[in-house]
Symmetry: C2
C-alpha cells in the first residue's frame, strides 16, 4: 500500500512538471503562430472565390437572424446540418452541410488538402481541391492551416471513393465546396486528442520500432479534461455512465420505487441512502433487487453500448465481465473458509481488507466462473450501528457487500427499525444517542422493517470496463490536492 | 413585502409553540397509555385463539428464516402479500395477506371493531368480529387499541359489502382472521395524518357548523415531515415530482443529450449548468428544446399522474395549467409594452420584479389564454457576464426566462463562446478575469456556439399545481433557520 501511494505522489509531481512544460510550449507556439498568421495575411493574393471560406464573424455568431449578414450566413441560410455519424453511402451525390471539429489536416499540394472532421466520436474525411468548382488555392491554404479542434462548417458533395478510407469511422468522403471556421482553437493545444487517445500497446509497438510517441499521463489529462474528454474512449466511458444511471432509474421506477431528493446539507454525518425499501420477511428481498437490477444493467450495457464499449476497449483493452443470470450469493463465513482453504488467514469477525477481497474474487472466479457476486452476513462489529443483527447469531448481521472483479461496489443491509433497539445499538457502538435523536424519533411514528443499499455509479463503470482507476470514470475528480478545474 | 415576512415570522413562532404543546401532550398520553396497557395486561383472560393476533417479536423481524419462529412467522409462512391498491371485487372470497398502516380504528362493541389499513395512499376497511372463526373478544380488544400509523399484517377473506364503503379508496372489505402488529407507533403522534390531510375548505365548513377542527401549519409539518409525508396530497406531490424528473431525463436522452455529473465542490460560485447544448445558428434552438420538453412534460403529467393530481387538488384546490401545444414567445420589449399599456411603468433596461412578472402573467393570460410562456431578449445588464449580447442591439441579450402562472421557472441564454470576448465581457462586468481563468481558457481549445438553461424541479411542481409555497414541494427544505430534520 505505501509503495502505491509513493508512486502516486511521484506521478503527481511528474504531471505538474509536464503540464508546466506543455503550457510554456503552448505560449511559445501560440506567439509564433500569431506572427506567422499576421505575415501570411499581408501577402494574401486577391481571390474571387473568397466568399466560399474564411472565419465566421462574431456578429454572425450572436444568433444573427439576417440571412445575408456574411458569407457563412448566406451559405447556410437554406441548409440543414447532417450529423457526421449519419454520413453513409445512401447520401451519395447529395450536398450536405456538416459541423464538427478539425481532427487532423493533411496538405497534399498547393492545390489539394485533406481535413478529417470529428463530431461526437464519428470522423469523416473531407477533400478540398482546386479541381472542384469554386475552390481556390487560397482556400486550400486556409484549410491546411486550420488549427486542430477548431469548429468548422463544411458544405460539399458526398462521394464514395473506390478504395476504403483508413482511419475514419465513416466510409464516405466529402468533396468540399465551402468551408468556414465557426470558432478557432489555439494553434498548439496543451494536449493533443490524438495523443490522448493512444493505447499503451500502440506506444509500446512504436517504441519497438524505434519511434517514441507521446504518452499523456492521468494528471495531465485531468488538468485539461476539456480536451481529454474528446477521445473516443472517454466519449464511450461517459456515455456508458449515462446509460448506467438511466438503467438504474428505469429499473427501480418500474419496480415501484419513487425518486426523492434528500438535502445535501445535514447537521450530522450520514449515508447517501441511495436505495431504501420495505422488507416483508427477509433481507434477501433487498439482495433480490440488487441481483435483478445489476443483471439487467449488465445485459443492457452489453446490448446498447456495444460501440462505446468497443471504443473503450480499443484504448484500454479488457475482458467482458463474467456474470450469471442469477447472481451467486455466499455468506461471509463461506468466504472466510474459501480464503482459509487457499492458505489466507483472515479474522472471521473482522472486515476483509482490499487484498483479501481481491483474492476472494479470484477464488470465486475459479470455482464459480463469475466476477459478480454477493457476500452476506457480515460480522456485526464491522457494520454501522443501524445494521440489523442476525436472528440466530448476534455476532453477524443482515448485511451484504457486492463485488465486481474482486472490488466492492455496493454495501447494503437491513436497518434496525425498532427505536428502542436502535438507541441500544447506537449506545453499544459508543454513539451519543442525543446527537441522533431526530433519526431515532422518526422511527416512533410507525416504520416497517426495511433495508437498502448504496452504489457508486462511477465505480460501476470503472469495474465493468476494468479501468483500474476511478479518475478515469469521474469527469472532474476531487481530492484534497485537486479542487479544479 | 415587509408585511409578508412579518407574517412568516409570526407563523414560525406559532409553529414552534404548537410543536412544543404537541410534544408535551404526546409525552403525557404516552405515559397514560403505557400504564393502561400494563393494567389491562394483568387482568387478561386466557385466550385459546391467542396465536391469531399480537405483536411480532423482534427475533422474528431480524429476517428469521425459520417458518415456525413465532405466531406471525407460522401465519405468513406460505402466503404472499397483496397490495392494498390491488384489492378489488375480482378477489372476492379469496384469502389475502396485506401489510399497511393503521389509518384509523373504530371499536363497535366488545365483539366487533373496524380498522382502516393504508398502504401507499390506498385504504381498505377491515372487519374484526367474533362471529368469524378464530376471532376472540381479546383479539377485538387488541385491534381496537392499535396505535395509529402502526404497521400491521392482516390475513382475511375479501368480501364485497352490499352498501358502498365511505372514506376508503378500495370498495371491498377484509374479514380478518389473523392480525399482527409488525411495528408499533407511539400512542399519540405529534401530528395526525388525518389532520394533516384536511383542506382549508373542510376546516371552514366545520367551523361554520360550530366544530373546530385542528389545522396543522407548515412549520409543524416540516418538523414532523416523516408523518406529514403520508397525506394523500403529499404522496401525490412527491410522486409528481419524481415523474417530472423522469420525463425531464427521458426527453433529453431521446434528443441525444448525455447526462454528466459535475462536481458539487468548486472553488468559485457558478450556475448549476443543468442543460447545455450546441447552437447551430440561433438561440431559438435552445428555446425550441425548452418548448417541446415542457409541453411533453405537462401532457405526460396530465395523463400519467391523474390520481396524484386529484389527491393534491382535493387538499389544495387548483385549476389545471393553461398551456399551448406551441409555446408563446414574447420579447422583453413586447412585455414591457404590455405592462406600459396596462399602466405599469417598468425600467425598459432593468429586470422585472416579482410584482411586474405576476402582472405580466395576468396580462398574457387575458390576451393569449396561456399560463406558460417564454420572454426573451432580456436587457444585457441584468444577465450574467457570459450571456451573448444581441447581434443588432448590445443593450439586449440572447437570453430568456420562462414563466408558469406568472412566476419564473427557467432562466436560459446563449453563452459567449469566444474566449477574448468572454474576458472582455467579464471585465466590463467588474469581474477579475484571473479568478475565472480556467473557465475562459477552456474556450481556447475549440468550442462551438452553445447555450443552455437551468430548471428547478421543485418549482415546476409547485407552479404546475399552484401550491404557492416551495416548502410544499421540497421534501426537507433548508433555510438559515432550518437545517433539520
Amino acid at each position: 500500500m505505501s509503495s502505491e501511494s509513493e508512486e502516486q505522489q511521484l506521478s503527481k509531481k511528474a504531471a505538474k512538471k509536464e503540464a508546466a512544460k506543455l503550457e510554456k510550449m503552448r505560449r511559445r507556439q501560440e506567439a509564433a503562430a500569431l506572427a506567422s498568421a499576421a505575415s501570411s495575411l499581408s501577402v494574401e493574393e486577391e481571390d474571387s472565390y473568397s466568399s466560399n471560406y474564411g472565419d465566421v464573424t462574431l456578429p454572425e455568431l450572436k444568433s444573427c437572424s439576417k440571412p445575408d449578414a456574411g458569407n457563412w450566413s448566406i451559405a447556410i441560410s437554406s441548409m440543414d446540418w447532417t450529423r457526421v455519424g449519419a454520413l453513409t453511402e445512401e447520401l451519395k451525390e447529395k450536398e450536405v452541410l456538416i459541423r464538427g471539429r478539425v481532427h487532423t489536416t493533411r496538405p497534399v499540394s498547393k492545390n489539394m488538402a485533406f481535413v478529417v472532421v470529428r463530431e461526437r466520436g464519428f470522423t469523416v474525411q473531407c477533400l478540398v481541391a482546386t479541381h472542384e468548382a469554386g475552390v481556390s488555392r487560397q482556400m486550400v491554404k486556409f484549410v491546411a492551416a486550420l488549427n486542430r479542434e477548431s469548429i468548422i462548417d463544411a458544405i460539399g458533395m458526398v462521394s464514395v471513393p473506390g478504395n476504403p478510407i483508413k482511419g475514419t469511422t465513416q466510409q464516405v468522403e466529402i468533396h468540399v465546396r465551402k468551408l468556414y471556421c465557426v470558432n478557432k482553437a489555439m494553434p498548439t493545444l496543451p494536449i493533443n486528442v490524438e495523443d490522448a487517445a493512444r493505447s499503451d500497446a500502440e506506444i509500446e509497438a512504436a517504441l519497438q520500432a524505434g519511434d517514441k510517441l507521446p504518452r499523456v499521463n492521468q494528471d495531465t489529462r485531468l488538468n485539461f479534461r476539456v480536451l481529454d474528454i474528446r477521445t473516443p474512449a472517454n466519449q464511450g466511458i461517459f456515455r456508458i455512465q449515462c446509460q448506467v444511471g438511466t438503467i438504474f432509474r428505469q429499473f427501480l421506477l418500474s419496480e415501484g420505487f419513487v425518486e426523492i431528493h434528500t438535502p445535501k446539507l445535514i447537521a450530522g454525518s450520514s449515508e447517501g441512502l441511495d436505495v431504501e425499501m420495505e422488507i416483508k420477511k427477509h433481507y434477501s428481498e433487498v439482495m433480490d433487487i440488487v441481483d435483478r437490477l445489476f443483471v439487467t444493467m449488465f445485459d443492457s450495457l452489453n446490448e446498447k453500448c456495444r460501440m462505446e464499449l468497443e471504443a473503450v476497449g480499443k484504448q484500454y483493452p479488457f475482458e467482458p465481465l463474467k456474470y450469471k443470470p442469477k447472481t451467486l450469493r455466499l455468506t461471509f463465513e463461506e468466504g472466510v473458509q474459501m480464503l482459509k482453504d487457499a492458505g489466507v488467514e483472515v479474522d472471521p469477525l473482522g472486515d476483509l481488507n482490499t487484498e483479501a477481497e481481491r483474492k476472494l474474487g479470484q477464488l470465486v472466479l475459479e470455482k464459480y466462473d463469475t466476477e459478480f457476486y454477493i457476500l452476506h452476513r457480515y460480522p456485526l462489529a464491522v457494520r454501522p450501528f443501524y445494521t440489523m443483527p442476525c436472528y440466530d447469531n448476534a455476532l453477524y448481521s443482515n448485511s451484504f457487500d457486492v463485488f465486481i472483479r474482486g472490488e466492492e461496489i455496493i454495501s447494503g443491509a437491513q436497518r434496525v427499525h425498532v427505536p428502542e433497539f436502535l438507541a441500544e445499538r447506537a449506545q453499544a457502538c459508543g454513539i451519543d444517542v442525543n446527537t441522533i435523536s431526530t433519526y431515532v424519533d422518526s422511527f416512533r411514528y410507525g416504520v416497517p422493517p426495511h433495508g437498502g443499499f448504496g452504489v457508486g455509479l462511477e465505480r460501476v463503470v470503472m469495474l465493468f470496463c476494468a479501468l483500474g482507476n476511478i479518475r478515469k470514470t469521474s469527469l472532474y475528480p476531487r481530492d484534497p490536492q485537486r479542487i479544479a478545474p
